[in-house]
């Protein structure tokens, strides 16, 4: 019994790993092919741009992964990020000497608050997450517009110390990327090694079985939305640091990009499957494609079409691959 189970676990683990390896290979091919055509693609400025761009989307994608693992979705992340960016910006206008750490915590706090509302709607209110977060997407963005009223925060209102999040670097790696990396690693460890993290997978694989096994599903779902909200809040702060100028439409519409990155990164929309590493690779692949298309001087009008086609291709291939592996495993079990 035990031996069989661990064997099956290791097979499952190796599949998960191979999916990430596949993505990594795709990434390398992309970079290699672009560099072969345009050797100057591989310069530090491009690398920096990719990393800075992908850090924020990657963070949001990791948050989305936790929610998607449990067969839920959080469409409100872009609205949360937008309102958090503006709120923290206004705090800087009011208190120009606010420490950077306080700004980060404030952003996370805004995100947690909205995440708590999402979580309460889904768990206590029994509202399907798509409906609940679609509603909060509208309400938060609407409140943002009503509050901002055409105003905007400029880089001049932000203290220099805050700007170093995006401009400063440690050993050549931009601070913003380091912050994102720390959060991503922490989330990855939480999902991989902690009981709570594993429970997200159990809930997504089979909610009823998870409940019968004694997992407090509602609590875990609540935590998922809190995490996703908190990350979106932090992403808003990073957005503010990176771009300096924010208004009410900041980050509008990126929720679908985030879901797309997760899906490309092999996070199943049907729950139970996916890793932070995969999701991050998904975000990275999409980010590299964007820069590569710019470098290759593909008309910007083609970029979205190519990206869309790639997303559809990625979902299809991923599912077909997973299915053929599952079939092979079934055959092995039946005959071997």
């Amino acid at each position: 019994m035990h031996a069989g189970e661990t064997k099956r676990d290791s097979i499952a683990a190796s599949i998960a790993k191979s999916r990430e390896l596949t993505l990594f290979a795709v990434l390398l091919v992309l970079v290699g092919a672009t560099a072969a055509v345009k050797p100057d693609f591989l310069n530090l400025q491009n690398l920096r741009d990719v990393l800075l761009n992908v850090s924020i989307i990657g963070l949001l994608t990791a948050g989305m992964t936790i929610v998607m693992l449990m067969r839920h979705i959080d469409l409100s992340v872009a609205s949360i990020g937008g309102v958090s960016a503006y709120a923290v910006g206004s705090l800087f206008v009011m208190f120009p000497h606010m420490p950077v750490v306080v700004a980060m915590f404030a952003g996370v706090g805004f995100g947690l608050a909205i995440g708590a509302v999402n979580g309460a709607l889904v768990t206590f209110g029994r509202v399907p997450s798509l409906v609940a977060t679609l509603s909060t997407l509208y309400i938060v963005r609407g409140a943002d517009y009503a509050w901002v009223h055409g105003g905007q925060i400029n880089a001049t209102s932000l203290p220099d110390a805050f700007a170093t999040i995006a401009t400063g670097s440690l050993l050549g790696v931009p601070n913003l990327v380091l912050i994102a990396l720390v959060v991503l690693i922490a989330l990855s460890m939480y999902l991989k090694q902690y009981r709570g993290g594993r429970e997200h997978y159990a809930i997504g694989s089979n909610p009823e079985a998870a409940r019968l096994a004694g997992i407090r599903v509602d609590r875990r779902v609540m935590i998922g939305f809190l995490l996703s909200g908190a990350i979106a809040g932090l992403a808003g702060v990073l957005w503010l640091a990176r771009f300096g100028t924010v208004d009410a439409s900041t980050a509008k519409g990126i929720e679908l990009q985030v879901v797309a990155a997760a899906v490309v990164g092999s996070v199943a929309i049907t729950g139970g499957v996916g890793t932070v590493a995969g999701a991050t690779l998904g975000a990275l692949v999409l980010g590299v494609i964007n820069i590569a298309l710019v470098v290759l001087r593909v008309s910007p009008f083609w970029q979205q079409a190519i990206q869309g086609a790639l997303i559809v291709a990625a979902i299809t291939l991923d599912t077909l691959l997973a299915r053929s592996v599952a079939r092979r495993m079934m055959r092995k079990r039946d005959h071997g």
């Binding site: 029994r126 399907p128 997407l137 509208y138 517009y145 083609w302 970029q303 869309g308």
Partner: protein, 334 residues
């Protein structure tokens, strides 16, 4: 045998309750609109109001069927944009207008076919696939037209977007909505095809075993959705006399909000076209009344979100409260 019957009637009762609630909301918003602004019930305003939700309504009709069958189509607004762009390009190529419109409608149907084929052939979740094609079709719209706008459509056609029927206040495009509403209501509520959608939405496996060709049905659904989105694209282009790649961006969420507010379950299997039609009218009336009352468009966004949320939250909380009360009564009786 008694049990499923009574279950059916509870489901029906719930529907009727929801629709009755929608009617009350509609009356309240009509009265409220009249109080807020004397202009509200003027012919000119009613005409504007109806014209403004033409595209959303045209797309919401097939979307209702799609969601009843427990699928979703997020690519509709992008199909609208791509259709608008295609319309502009074909017109500039010198094709006659009727041919242009015919080609655009066929192209929209093919876009829907592509969605359907990927979803059905590979058994993929429609949410994931149509997020991909949302980007793909919007991208194609930009490929076709870039950031240009084409505005020199013949006046006889753009007039269709603005004129009213004879001497009434009904805008011309509204005829399409009425005809579409009748067709899709009959299709959903009075044909075997419509019944099969409820069956698929409730339990696809059971539907398959009861002899419904689930794959073919879904394929047809997505083709309808694409065709209607293309039609909405044609109407939008004529109404604003402007073919642009970014036309209708973000409409998909408004459409889905309208359908869900109409009482259609996001999990499929439940909902009625009457509810969706009422919901469309309510959202149209509310938006218009609030605009006349000088309420900002931000507030409208908040109202849309709040409506959508309350449509699911309130019945759930009521059910919860009822269950708790019954439990208490039972405990007392013991």
């Amino acid at each position: 045998m008694a049990k499923p019957d009574s279950a059916l009637s509870t489901a029906k009762r719930r529907h009727l309750q929801w629709e009755a609630m929608l009617v009350i909301v509609l009356v309240v918003s009509l009265v409220g609109g009249r109080v807020l602004s004397p202009m509200f019930l003027s012919a000119a305003n009613l005409s504007n109001m109806l014209a403004d939700f033409t595209e959303i309504a045209l797309i919401a009709l097939p979307m209702t069927l799609v969601i009843v069958a427990a699928e979703i189509d997020l690519s509709v607004a992008s199909v609208l944009g791509a259709s608008s762009a295609l319309m502009g390009v074909l017109w500039h190529m010198g094709l006659p207008m009727p041919l242009v419109i015919a080609i655009v409608l066929v192209a929209g149907t093919l876009a829907g076919l592509l969605n359907g084929l990927v979803i059905v052939r590979f058994g993929l979740p429609s949410l994931a696939v149509t997020i991909g094609t949302l980007a793909l079709f919007r991208g194609l719209a930009y490929v076709l037209l870039g950031d240009q706008a084409i505005a020199d459509f013949p006046a006889s056609y753009t007039a269709f977007g603005i004129d009213t029927i004879a001497n009434t206040f009904l805008p011309m495009p509204f005829v399409l909505v009425i005809v579409g509403a009748i067709i899709f209501t009959v299709l959903l509520q009075a044909t075997p095809f419509g019944r099969s959608l409820y069956a698929i939405g409730a339990n696809p496996t059971a539907a398959q075993f009861s002899g419904i060709d689930v794959a073919k049905t879904k394929l047809r659904l997505f083709m309808m959705s694409g065709a209607m989105a293309a039609l909405a694209g044609v109407v939008y282009t004529l109404r604003f006399t402007s073919a642009r790649g970014d036309n209708g961006e973000g409409f998909e969420l408004s459409v889905i909000a309208a359908v869900l507010f109409g009482g259609v379950s996001i999990f499929g299997g439940r909902g009625s076209m009457i509810g969706v039609l009422l919901s469309l009218v309510i959202i149209g009336v509310l938006r218009n009344a609030l605009t006349l009352a000088d309420v900002s468009s931000e507030t409208l966004t908040i109202v849309t979100g709040a409506l959508l949320l309350s449509s699911v939250l309130i019945p759930n909380l009521v059910a919860r409260w009822r269950a708790a009360r019954e439990k208490r009564l039972m405990a007392q009786a013991l």
